[in-house]
Symmetry: C2
Subunit: 438 residues, 2 copies
């Protein structure tokens, strides 16, 4: 075996990803050394409790509760603890002591990314985070490097496996949200507290990371518009299916052009109607996919496992090999580019198509009133379908109106829906869903 | 605007990709400079004839027929001439004069890649070739970098747009190969001499490049087993559809394990049956997709435009920005890893599933004879469907037998089919197709 330079690798965290990283590093050490041009010596694993039960057997002598000491002298520090503190503090210490760092911590990157990148830039270190955006799917390097010569127009991502699993089962089985969620929790696809997933917080963090890379712009997490999927019910799923759509929780990152030739961006997470023929519609189960539209490259899609310990470990180890190569080769890091720093518009300025479902009083002139209100509100109608609601089930004088709009401004649309709701002819606004993926 | 260091960029070739690269470089120069940290100055474009008509208007003063002089003093040389010579000679000159080089030349890489990489390694330069394998789809960096910590088990790629376009139309329209090919030629999807595409030569070059990256092994082009799609006819398409398959020209790169724990690889290009539920089955038109199965990451797919001038230009410019960053940052290049250098097995050693379609004499004992021959040949039967061929059309004493096998060794299978063909009970071997994508 070639006699390589030894690089000291410190691992912070031994949860489902961390324990797999440790295990694969030890199992494939020789092969990774050949690829990295350096022997990757795992010098220690910082954990909260050295005696806690682990998914994978790890050598007891590598475990320590003293992360700070472990970081000192490490060439590469892998942070897989999650959470903001002390992960942030440890990573800054690692960077400032000359290490390259690898992290899968999307919450930290989405909130303190610029601070970490600036610190790395100052000392010529590099922050690697392929695992932070869509699990095992290589999306960071494609966006940062492969598409560096292109202009990304739009990203539409299914970046949260839990919600895709729930929506996919609701679509396939005609089940209700609460039932599928309970099942997903029992099967380990959803956490006991599912808020981060089902309310879109996790997807919003990933959207911020992807948009930041794609548009070379710092994206404060609070500028990401976020809606979850808890309001999606069986009837909305059924109606979507009937209309040739499927409902997916999408992270949409979009470059917008104003009339004066100025550019801005929108970053938003919400459940949207996607045409069943769109490649994103066939992303099933807990899988993720990122659909990228670029000016020159056209449409690209990246598909794979969005989560899972061993899958995510693959992305982490790819970063470790990259970090090792750079550590050996020298040269300063690539650095994060936020040079464009385009303005980020609020959700009200965004234009999409919409599908509005209303229950209206079934009497003469109602459709004219609804159409007039939409027109007054600058919302142009593309399709209308009116059906009488079954008289056995409900008041016979009620009809259901499904209106597909042309592209409309979110603020106009939402004001118009408010006007409709208060108009006296609309009994109930059943749902308002955006349609993405033209 | 920031005052960046100027990098001299020389472009060799101004065909459909080259002219787009030149145009985008000039159009988005400021933006690319921000990303690269260097001003990319296009100093000249080497062409055969400075007066030839071009798809895109290029400044006449940049055009030259003197490639050799243009290369001298360039920091980055982009080779988009195609062909082996003089492209090889020019790239070696560029590398030896200290330039980083970008090429989309799959024929050159598949035949002289190791020579170029060795030359680059010696002087610390780098060869970038994201555009060589699947057009605009970022696949080189994911394989080389993102999956560097993983072990790729198998790649199945639709890497030739022309053949996918032809097969897709044959599948959708029930058309014959020759008719669709003629149409594809008229529409510009296929060349006047379609040999490189329809006989699988283009796909074989790309398969060699992908396998070399995935398995860290030098792949001589002649070790790639290659079959084209000219023998695929309407009846095979119909039969495939009926059985729930679609026929795709696949580039398959596979890691094999022998009983003694040794590893080898197989690289092959042929039309294969793919289950209609497989993600590759929904790759339509001239699109490409690369499906990667890795030990830790699981299944990944990369999808997008496989060809086209402006699409491919996107990949080339991504490489130019990477090359510029590295040129500024210093440090030696990543280098190509061929450290594993696994043995490459001939096609006869490969195991896949097969679908064998036979016309047999419809008399007692025939099925028993066929089954016995298969069993003697170590080919295990998974499914059998026998149908009497319509008596109006043909000899009433003939039946059609469609046999799906379990995994069998190619050599055993092909010997057994020879035995069957000579057995007297088989009137005609209609088709033998491999089934990929379990």
């Amino acid at each position: 075996m070639t006699d390589y330079r030894r690089l000291r690798v410190a691992l912070l965290g031994a949860g489902s990803v961390g324990s797999q990283v440790a295990s694969l590093l030890r199992q494939h050490g020789d092969e990774l050394a050949d690829r990295a041009g350096a022997t990757l010596e795992l010098v220690g694993i910082a954990v909260r409790d050295v005696n806690a039960p682990r998914e994978v057997d790890l050598p007891q002598e590598l475990l320590t509760t003293d992360a700070k000491t472990l970081i000192v002298g490490a060439d590469i520090v892998i942070e897989l603890m999650g959470g903001i503190e002390p992960a942030r503090e440890y990573l800054l210490e690692a960077i400032n002591s000359g290490a390259d760092v690898v992290t899968a911590n999307k919450a930290l990157l989405a909130t303190h990314g610029p601070e970490l990148f600036a610190a790395a830039d100052q000392v010529g270190a590099q922050v690697y985070y392929e695992a932070a955006a869509a699990g095992a799917i290589p999306i960071i390097r494609p966006l940062r490097d492969s598409l560096a010569g292109d202009r990304v127009q739009r990203i539409m991502g299914i970046v949260n496996g839990t919600t895709n699993y729930i929506l996919d089962r609701m679509d396939k089985e005609g089940a209700e949200f609460a039932d599928v969620l309970a099942d997903a929790q029992a099967l380990g696809y959803a956490e006991a507290d599912p808020t981060a997933d089902v309310e879109g917080y996790d997807a919003a963090q990933k959207a911020a990371i992807l948009a930041s890379l794609a548009f070379h712009t710092t994206i404060p997490l609070e500028s990401v518009h976020r809606e979850g999927i808890t309001q999606i019910d069986k009837s909305m799923m059924d109606a979507a299916r009937k209309a040739g759509y499927v409902i997916k929780l999408l992270a949409v990152c979009e470059r917008l052009n104003d009339d004066a030739g100025g550019e801005s961006i929108s970053v938003r997470v919400y459940p949207a109607l996607v045409d069943r023929e769109h490649p994103l519609a066939s992303v099933h189960g807990a899988n993720n996919a990122v659909f990228v539209q670029a000016e020159a490259a056209g449409n690209l899609m990246f598909y794979g496992a969005g989560a899972g310990g061993v899958q995510t470990a693959s992305a982490v180890l790819g970063d470790v090999v990259s970090a090792a190569r750079r550590h050996i080769a020298g040269g300063v890091g690539v650095g994060e580019s936020t040079l464009a720093n385009l303005p980020i518009v609020p959700i009200g300025h965004v234009t999409t198509r919409y599908q509005i479902t209303l229950e209206v009083n079934d009497r003469p002139g109602v459709l004219a009133t609804v159409a007039g209100t939409l027109s007054d509100g600058k919302v142009s109608i593309a399709t209308v379908e009116q059906t009488v609601i079954d008289a056995d089930d409900t008041d016979a004088a009620t009809a259901r109106l499904v209106i597909g709009t042309h592209k409309a401004r979110e603020q106009d649309l939402s004001d118009t829906v408010d006007t409709l709701a208060a108009s006296g002819v609309v009994a109930r606004v059943v749902s308002v869903l955006r349609v993405e993926g033209d």
